[in-house]
Symmetry: C2
Subunit: 430 residues, 2 copies
C-alpha cells in the first residue's frame, strides 16, 4: 500500500473498502481491551501457591514474628532479593508494600518537601527542592509512562520532553539541558524495556546517566524505575549496573532505583523495592517512619517462600515469558504483515516488558484510537505516553498485549490494522 | 504511705529501703518492654488461619480477580466492613493497605497541599490549608498518641494542647479556640478508649465535635481515629455516631474517620479504612489514584473470609478481650495496692484499648522512666504522649500491657511501683 503514489480515485476506492470493513467490525459489538499492562489470568496463576505457603510458620529467617508491627526497612531476606534485582547492597534497599509507584510518589514528596540529604549538605531540609528552586523541572524521555508524568504533575513539577533513541534517552540533549538549567532536579528512566518503546539503555547511556550528578545541581536525582528488570521474553539479559557506575564517579546520591514483584507474582499484591545511597535511604526512612509502622511482612515472607533468591525469580520469569511471547508475536505479525512495506506505521520489536509502541503517520494517533474504540477495541488514550497528555506529533499509540487471550489479540489487531489504514487513507484524501 | 506527714528521718529510712529494693531489681538483669501497644503472640495466633484461607479462590464477591491491578477504592465487601466499623455508608469508606497511620498521613498531605474540597468550594485547591493560611494549627487533646503528633510535626503544623477530661477533650476550650482562630484546621480525636487515657467520648462530646464545622473555617477537618472501635474488654459498647450527627448539622465535610484491623487480625498485615463525606472521599481518591494503582485486594479478601461481617468481628474481639483483660487487671491491681490510699499516682481504669495512663506527682515522669530503665523495664519515653515530646507537668507515663506475658507484667509492675515510690520520696527529701 503506497498512498503517496495512489490516485485520488484509488484512494477513494480504498477508503470505501476499509470503511466497509470497519463498519463490519463495529457491528460485531466485541469488547477488547489493550489499554494497560496487566498480566493475564494465566500469568497470575503461576503464583497462586502464595496463599497457604507459610503453613503456619510466620517467622522470618532472623526469627522476626512477621505478624506484628515494626520492621520499617522490610524483612532482611526480602531486601536481599530487592538488592539482587536492582544490583545494589542490601543496606541500600528497602522492601515495602504492594506498589513501587507509591514509593516513587513518596520519593518525589520527600525530595521536594523534606529533602533527601545529598552529599555535602548539613541538613536534609536544605536539599529539599522547594527550598533551592521556585521552579522545579524534571526530564521526561518520551514516549514514556503516564503514571510517572502524573506524579510530577501532582507536585507541580514542570516536565521537559527528551526524545528516546534506540539506546535510551538522547543524552546529548539531556546533558545540555542539565548544564544550562539548575532548576532541573531529576529525570524519569525505565532503563530496561522502557515503557512503552521497549528500549534497553546501552552501557554508554547508563554511564552517562550515572555521571549526570557531576554536572547537575547537588540535589538532582534520577528516578530509575527498573520495572522490567527481569521481564525478558528471550532469556535474562543484564544491563549496566548504574549504582556501580555511580560509585566510580562519586554520584551515589543522584540515583534512586525502584522495582517490584507486581508483574512477577500477583500484580496487586506484590512487594515493592526502593534503592538508593545509604544517605538517601536514611533520609527516606526518616519520613517513611512518620507515615508507616512497617510494611506487610507476612506478604514479604510469602514471597520469599516462592522466590527465595534471584535464580528462583529468573526461573519463574521464564514461565511468564512462555505466556507473553506468543501474544507479542501476534501483535508483531499483524504489524509486519500490513506495515513492513509502507510508511503507515513504525514500531520496535520488543524483547521484553509489557508494551509495543506504535507510531502512526503524524497527527493520526487520536483518530486511530477513536476508530478502534468504535469497533470495540479499547486502546490507551492517544497522548497518554507524553507529559500533560500532549503528544506533539499526535502519532504514538501504546499497545498492551499481555492480558487478553491470543485469539482476542488476533481479533483486536485485525481491527487496529484496519483503523490505521483507514485513518491514513482519509488523511491522504484530505 | 503519706509522704507529706513523714519526718525527714522517716523519709531517709524509706529512701534507703526503696533504693535497696531498686538495686536488687537492677541486679536481676531482666529485660521487659511496656513501651508500645503491640498485640501478644497469642492474640496474633487468633488470626493464623488467614494464610491459606482462600483455598485457591481469589475471586471477590462481584467476580473481581483480586490478584490483578486496580480497584482503587478497595473490595466492596471490605468497604462494607469498614463502613460497619465506622458507622458510615459504603460509598463513604475506602478499604486500603496495612496502615491507618498511612491514610492519616495521606489525608494530612492532601488537606494541606491539594485540598479535600469542602462544601461550597469551586475547586479542591482553594480548600488546601496552605492556600488559605500561612500558619496552620491543629488541636491535640493531651495526653495523646505520639504518632499523630509526629504527622503534624512533619508537615509543620502547629499543635495546641487541650486537656482531656473524663468525657473527652475539654470542649469549652476547643470551641473557644476555634471561634477565635481561623488558622485552626483540625483536631486529633481517638473517640473510644483514647490513647493513652482510655477515655470514651460522651454522646454530648461527640455531638459538640460534629458541630465544630458550624463555627470553624470551611476547610476545618477533625481526624477521628477510631483505632479501638471494637476493642472492648467488657463487651462491645457503641459510641455516638459522629457521621449521623454531622448529617443532622450539615457538617459532613468536617470529619474524616480512620480504623484498621491491625489489632484485630495480624498487626502488620491488616486492612485500613478511611471514611468521609462523598465529596471528601472523591478528592482523597483524586490523589490516591496518583500514588497507587490499588490496595492489596488479596489480603482484603482473606480478611473477609475470617471477618465476613461486623458480628463475626465482634465475636473475634471477645477472644482478644479474654487475653488482654488479665493483663490490664494485673497492672491495675499493682496500682491499686500501692497508690489507692496516697497521692503518689493517679490513673484510670481502662475498659478497652491498649493503654493505662499513669500520672506521677508533677515533675517525676522522666525520673521514673529512667529508674525503670535501669532495672530493665522499658517504658514509653516520658513526654511522648504530648506534642513535641513536651509534657508540661512531666508527670504522664503510658503503660502498654498487651504484649508481655502475665508473669512479665507482674514483675515489671513490681519494679515500676518501686520506681514511682523511690522518685516520690527523693522529691519529698529534695
Amino acid at each position: 500500500m503506497n498512498l503517496q503514489q495512489a490516485s485520488t480515485e484509488e484512494l477513494r476506492q480504498l477508503e470505501a473498502e476499509l470503511s466497509n470493513e470497519h463498519q463490519a467490525f463495529c457491528q460485531q459489538q466485541i469488547k477488547l481491551d489493550l489499554t494497560r499492562g496487566k498480566p493475564s489470568s494465566d500469568q497470575l496463576t503461576l503464583a497462586d501457591n502464595l496463599d497457604g505457603i507459610l503453613d503456619g510458620n510466620y517467622k522470618a529467617a532472623d526469627g522476626t514474628d512477621t505478624r506484628n508491627y515494626g520492621g520499617l526497612e522490610g524483612l532482611t531476606e526480602a531486601r536481599q532479593l530487592g538488592a539482587d534485582i536492582l544490583g545494589m547492597k542490601i543496606s541500600e534497599v528497602l522492601a515495602q508494600g504492594n506498589s513501587s509507584l507509591t514509593l516513587m510518589f513518596y520519593a518525589m514528596l520527600i525530595a521536594k518537601e523534606f529533602g533527601l540529604g545529598q552529599k555535602g549538605a548539613a541538613t536534609a531540609a536544605e536539599t529539599a527542592w522547594k527550598n533551592t528552586n521556585n521552579d522545579i523541572k524534571f526530564i521526561c524521555p518520551v514516549p514514556g509512562y503516564d503514571r510517572h508524568f502524573s506524579v510530577c504533575e501532582q507536585f507541580g513539577i514542570n516536565m521537559i520532553n527528551v526524545p528516546m533513541t534506540d539506546t535510551g534517552p538522547d543524552m546529548d540533549i539531556v546533558e545540555d539541558l542539565i548544564k544550562s538549567d539548575s532548576s532541573i532536579k531529576g529525570m524519569w528512566c525505565v532503563p530496561k524495556y522502557s515503557n512503552p518503546t521497549g528500549t534497553v539503555y546501552s552501557d554508554d547511556t547508563v554511564e552517562r546517566i550515572a555521571k549526570l550528578g557531576l554536572i547537575a545541581s547537588n540535589n538532582f536525582c534520577v528516578f530509575w524505575d527498573n520495572a522490567y528488570a527481569a521481564h525478558d521474553l528471550n532469556g535474562y539479559k543484564a544491563i549496566a549496573n548504574i549504582m556501580d557506575l555511580c560509585r566510580q564517579h562519586g554520584t551515589e546520591d543522584s540515583v534512586l532505583q525502584f522495582a517490584s514483584t507486581s508483574k512477577i507474582t500477583h500484580a496487586g499484591s506484590g512487594v515493592a523495592f526502593i534503592g538508593g545511597s545509604e544517605s538517601n535511604i536514611k533520609h527516606f526512612l526518616d519520613v517513611l517512619g512518620i507515615l508507616s509502622i512497617g510494611p506487610d511482612k507476612v506478604n514479604q515472607l510469602r514471597h520469599m517462600r516462592i522466590l527465595p533468591n534471584h535464580d528462583a525469580l529468573l526461573n519463574h520469569m521464564e514461565k511468564h515469558a512462555a505466556l507473553l511471547k506468543p501474544r507479542f508475536e501476534c501483535v508483531l505479525n499483524h504489524l509486519n504483515a500490513h506495515f513492513a512495506d509502507n510508511d503507515l506505521g513504525e514500531w520496535e520489536s520488543a524483547e521484553g516488558g509489557y508494551f509495543i509502541s506504535f507510531n502512526t503517520q503524524p497527527t493520526l494517533a487520536k483518530t486511530v484510537v477513536k476508530l478502534a474504540g468504535e469497533a470495540g477495541v479499547k486502546l490507551t488514550p492517544a497522548g497518554a505516553t507524553f507529559p500533560y497528555g500532549n503528544d506533539p506529533h499526535n502519532n504514538n499509540i501504546r499497545i498492551a498485549p499481555s492480558m487478553p487471550s491470543l485469539s482476542d489479540i488476533d481479533q483486536a489487531m485485525k481491527i487496529f490494522v484496519n483503523c490505521v489504514k483507514l485513518a491514513s487513507v482519509k488523511k491522504a484524501l484530505a
